[in-house]
Symmetry: C2
Subunit: 690 residues, 2 copies
């Protein structure tokens, strides 16, 4: 929008009402015509936290800006990457009720800053007033000189090149005024002169907004990604055999074939033996039980080591490299906790809390005891070394080519620690992404996102009813939350086999897949359990899988005719090919007169891609509804038909007007994923759509 001004940061010695104010109860007079800049949006917690964007996205900034008196205001939005000293400036436009607006695009990864500056402009005020006086046929012989003076004063401040231009204009206006006042006024209002006067305006008394607000810019994958979680040790082609990173590498083609672009591995480190849990979380492990990968650390090493049964660092690097060839990124699990056998326990007793009997404090949730896990004591006086060590774990895996981390239970470690770690690492490697696995209270989840987690797990898995889904996703995509919290939607995880999936059979998996993949530009599944519709829980009322891969190796029959692999591939292809599905902010829900039918759309800013998803939320029965679409929002002519092209089944329907009928059978296909196509022409009575 509009022209961009360049200004040296140092060239502007801004003072103003905003930054004066009360100090120790005393206020000093400042003689400034204080322009007020307030209520700036976006701004998270008074600027305490950055907002988030991905490369190429817009930052639209609004603010209340006003001054005393009647002078004309001029306001600019200033922005820059932290790496550059100069601000770019964009002139702001007044909306209504003293609200102003401007926007800029972020074009590079890393941290950027934005703030506002505004001033009352004497020359613009004079220009506005002299027109009114001229129209009222008043004597302007003195007034014109006021303007001439302003130009002359500005000339003294201007660059050598501009100085001459301004001085000449001032002289010409003065001369012309004697014989042709309307001509002199017209000359003063000349656009080139006006633009130069604005550019050279005296900002000595401008108000600069008291805060520089930050925006963290990530690569596009932070906004749009499809994740696949799998256990490498279950990747062997020989049932019962412990899979390796090599097996896992062979499995990548299968994953890429389904159209995923992130493959996430649970911890690959040596697993503790002391107090190891057995199959189905049994208190005592059998001799051949493999233990939980989240019980990290054994004599073979800790967080920087690889479980020898999985392979070597070389194997891991080959895995990363093969993944890359297939368009996949490898995401590692960052689980800051230790098995009793972890080398830290011997080498750094000071990082653990001790019990009065001299033993190490194990994890507890009274009365439950987790004696296979020793939590780190972040409150220890030896914190600095501990924090540095934990950071070095991240940097180590980054050095091995990892750029995405899924962080286990971050809400059980201090907020300060995360802010420090994430800011430091992203300062070095702005392309590294962190997904927060915190299934906890809403404010803690949002706080972790504010502190710097790139993406976050959500309550999606437990939102099944239309009303719940609608409310939750409005909160995530239409409120301030969206500025810092990027949802990543998972219908299942190794810890979460929801009652809905347990009860709903294959249609439940299908509809939850479509919901996750179209409601969320970021989504993921835990497979092969998901595509094979594994729905057996360890006990009634539990969300734990029976024979969970957390505690044992599973052999999956990927060729099962029941597999959803083809549908998943289709859904991921639709996602890739339709840019409307690459973001969440355009999400909009539409009325349907049946509580079991949910309808929503996403579209691109230019309206060239409009995707309408209709899902039957009932996995057991065919449901139908009258659906209402906002034709005005889609810029559709209500008198012309339009085509709804279901990309799941490649079926095309011609719809007319806002209200149309849908019917979905869960057994065939519980959802439509429509691309809305506009009618472009009609030939021989046949309509053509694009």
């Amino acid at each position: 929008m509009a022209r961009t001004l360049n200004s040296k940061r140092s060239a502007v010695a801004a003072t103003g009402g905003q930054t004066n104010g009360i100090e120790n109860g005393a206020i000093k007079p400042t003689f400034a015509r204080g322009v007020v800049i307030e209520n700036v949006r976006p701004e998270i917690d008074c600027g305490r936290f950055p907002i988030k964007r991905t490369i190429g996205e817009r930052v639209e900034v609004t603010a209340d800006i006003f001054a005393d008196g009647h002078d004309v205001l001029y306001a600019v939005l200033r922005h820059r990457p932290t790496s550059r000293p100069d601000w770019e400036e964009v002139p702001m436009q007044p909306l209504e009720n003293d609200r102003w607006q401007a926007e800029f695009r972020v074009d590079a990864e890393g941290r950027h800053l934005y703030t506002l500056q505004a001033w009352t402009d004497r020359f613009l005020s004079w220009s506005r007033d002299i027109v009114k006086k001229l129209q009222a046929a008043q004597d302007l012989s003195v007034d014109i000189l006021v303007g001439v003076n302003l130009i002359e004063t500005t000339a003294q401040r201007a660059s050598r090149k501009d100085r001459g231009f301004l001085a000449t204009r001032a002289e010409e206006i003065k001369r012309l005024a004697v014989r042709d006042m309307p001509g002199a006024v017209k000359m003063a209002l000349n656009p080139e002169l006006q633009a130069l006067m604005i550019q050279t305006a005296d900002r000595g008394r401008a108000t600069t907004y008291s805060r520089e607000l930050a925006v963290v810019v990530d690569r596009e994958k932070a906004r749009f990604s499809a994740w696949y979680e799998m256990f490498p040790r279950s990747c062997s082609s020989q049932p019962g055999q412990h899979g390796t990173l090599k097996d896992c590498t062979s499995r990548l083609e299968y994953v890429a074939g389904m159209g995923f672009d992130v493959v996430y591995l649970p911890p690959i480190h040596p697993i503790g033996r002391t107090n190891r849990k057995g199959k189905n979380n049994a208190e005592k492990a059998a001799p051949d039980d493999v233990g939980s990968p989240w019980a990290i650390g054994a004599r073979e090493g800790g967080h920087k080591a690889i479980d020898p049964r999985l392979g070597t660092l070389e194997d891991f690097k080959r895995l990363v490299s093969r993944a890359s060839q297939l368009g996949l990124e490898v995401a590692l699990d960052l689980a800051y906790q230790n098995a009793p056998d972890h080398p830290y326990v011997k080498e750094h007793k000071e990082w653990f809390r001790m019990r009065p009997d001299g033993t190490v404090q194990y994890a507890e949730n009274p009365p439950k005891k987790y004696q296979d896990i020793f939590p780190l004591d972040f409150e220890t006086d030896q914190g600095q070394a501990l924090w540095e060590e934990l950071k070095s774990v991240v940097l180590y895996w980054i050095a091995q080519g990892v750029r995405i981390f899924r962080v286990d239970n971050p809400h059980t470690k201090p907020f300060d620690f995360w802010e420090w770690l994430l800011t430091d690492v992203k300062g070095r490697h702005p392309d590294v992404l962190f997904l927060a696995e915190a299934f906890t209270r809403p404010k803690l989840m949002y706080e972790l996102a504010k502190l710097g987690f790139t993406e976050s797990y959500t309550y999606f898995a437990w939102r099944n009813a239309k009303q719940e889904i609608t409310e939750y996703f409005k909160e995530l995509t239409q409120t301030e939350v969206r500025e810092y919290f990027r949802p990543n939607l998972w219908p299942n995880t190794p810890d979460i086999l929801t009652d809905f999936l347990q009860q709903g059979g294959r249609p439940a998996f299908m509809l939850r897949l479509v919901l996750a993949a179209t409601l969320g530009a970021n989504y993921g599944i835990y497979g092969p359990a998901f595509e094979l519709c594994e729905n057996r829980a360890v006990a009634p009322g539990s969300e734990e899988y029976l024979d969970s891969e957390k505690y044992q190796i599973r052999a999956w029959n990927l060729d099962s005719p029941n597999s959803l692999a083809k549908l998943i591939a289709q859904v991921n292809r639709i996602r890739r090919e339709n840019p409307a599905l690459h973001g969440d902010w355009s999400l909009r829900f539409h009325p349907a007169d049946n509580d079991q039918i949910i309808v929503y759309s996403k579209m691109t800013d230019d309206l060239l891609n409009i995707m309408v998803t209709v899902v039957n939320l009932d996995p057991n029965r065919t449901q139908s509804a009258w659906v209402d679409l906002p034709l005005d929002v889609f810029h559709l002519d209500p008198r012309q038909p339009y085509q709804m092209h279901d990309l799941l089944t490649d079926t095309r329907y011609v719809w007319r007007g806002p209200r149309n009928w849908v019917e979905l059978s869960p057994l065939r296909m519980p959802a439509h994923v429509f691309c809305l196509r506009r009618r472009v022409r009609s030939e021989n009575g046949v309509d053509y759509f694009v």
Copy 2:
């Protein structure tokens, strides 16, 4: 609420997540278990501005408070007058969704501060957990020692007196644990011990909220007052004669008789002669025209002088003194602008902007010129002396006994100036009140209130329809606005004779009076124009009075049978006697099935005084409606009758259930001002109400 702890400010060396954070892009590890304190309410613009209260009012503070992990949180609200170094502390209570709450009462004028502190408490966490473990019959021999250690560590930090108590308890618990573990646990949970452990908690890692928020406490009159504006020069008993301060003093009994408690005088200073305006704002004044009191300054003096035709400083002091005897306070007008004859113009040319022809810049709103007014140039380099001089005007009149100022057009002077002036003056004289006369855009009006104006004029005069009134007063009394903006409601002023009053005759004045006096705990009228129902405008479509007192002396017939003086006295008596009408925050609108009938209530916190006002907004026709009252809010038994006692007419109606009928004739009385009386008993079939 609950117990109050005392803590030396110096005793708490609080660090914490809140105040660490990013500095120059680098974050240092802090090893703190950071409790987060966010979203504190009330807090105006990130603590930039204070909230307002009057003596005895509550400050209810809420905040999001949470920590990582599962430890028990403890949080306190801290508050103190700025004059005292020590914080009072009130324990906060958790509401839902990590929101906490506490409150304190302000008991003295002046500026107070409040902030929050919170920490995770190891002993409270231990206490919670050991109960669960005891219930699960676990071996506690090690766990009990953890608690004993915590008590022993705390003892080392405690005062000499408490140290012994704690050490003894630790020893006893340890001894008892050997033979009677449940007894030992019970001893650890002893309330006295628990209270002492909280009081002596280690706050070394507590989070102190990063801002100290301010509350400006005024005397009660800032919240509850009835103003009467009158021109002293129209107070003569001899028609046509220039009234004096003595005449004005004689008129005070009349004003007090109507029940007002503030008498506000337009400027009483010498009036300029150069370019003086004539009657009805004529451009040229006749020789005997008195001029506008707002054109301040002549050879007789400026803002600290009294117009000799009004009298002397002694006369003024006698006026103030007599007013005080009658329960009236005198409010002066503070109009920072100058007639061309003002002594400043000669003595301080540097305080004015000069035109290129060497003349002083007069006030303009192009194409309109106000050549009788020279505005001060607040942008002058000589600002410091100017600001000091303007402050000295306020201090001068304070020295003469004035404690209330009505400030003319504050939105045309810099915001910085007002913040400086108001903070300085109220720092010296916390009992001084300032009413901002800014009829301008909403955000400017709110900004002036934030900057320190005690009360503000409103758009009330132009809100006539039920929907308009309801929306506007919900904004003023039910949103954050109420924290800093105190409305003062005027149905008329010397500048504002609304179309509604011009057209609606006597009933219009009656109903606007009742609305102002019951919607607003602060209200005022410009008289005698108001009570005499003066409704002639200078021209159709104008809000200016014909023969306005701004430009000429008026002789009023106070004995007119048309006068509303008796009704006004009645309304002011009702206000005084009913504490529900002493504030605005309890205002609540109720449904009525007629757009011309508005119904609203105010009540005291204890529900002992409930006032329900019903107004017929149509000055021309009798209107009736079914009215719905929320009996549950009023704690009324829906099966029992209640009495609606109309205090305007002393008529009593017995109502039953939520829905009742009202009918109001504008000619008789366009409003009910009901006191709702509860049924206390029934004797011989007769109900008694109180």
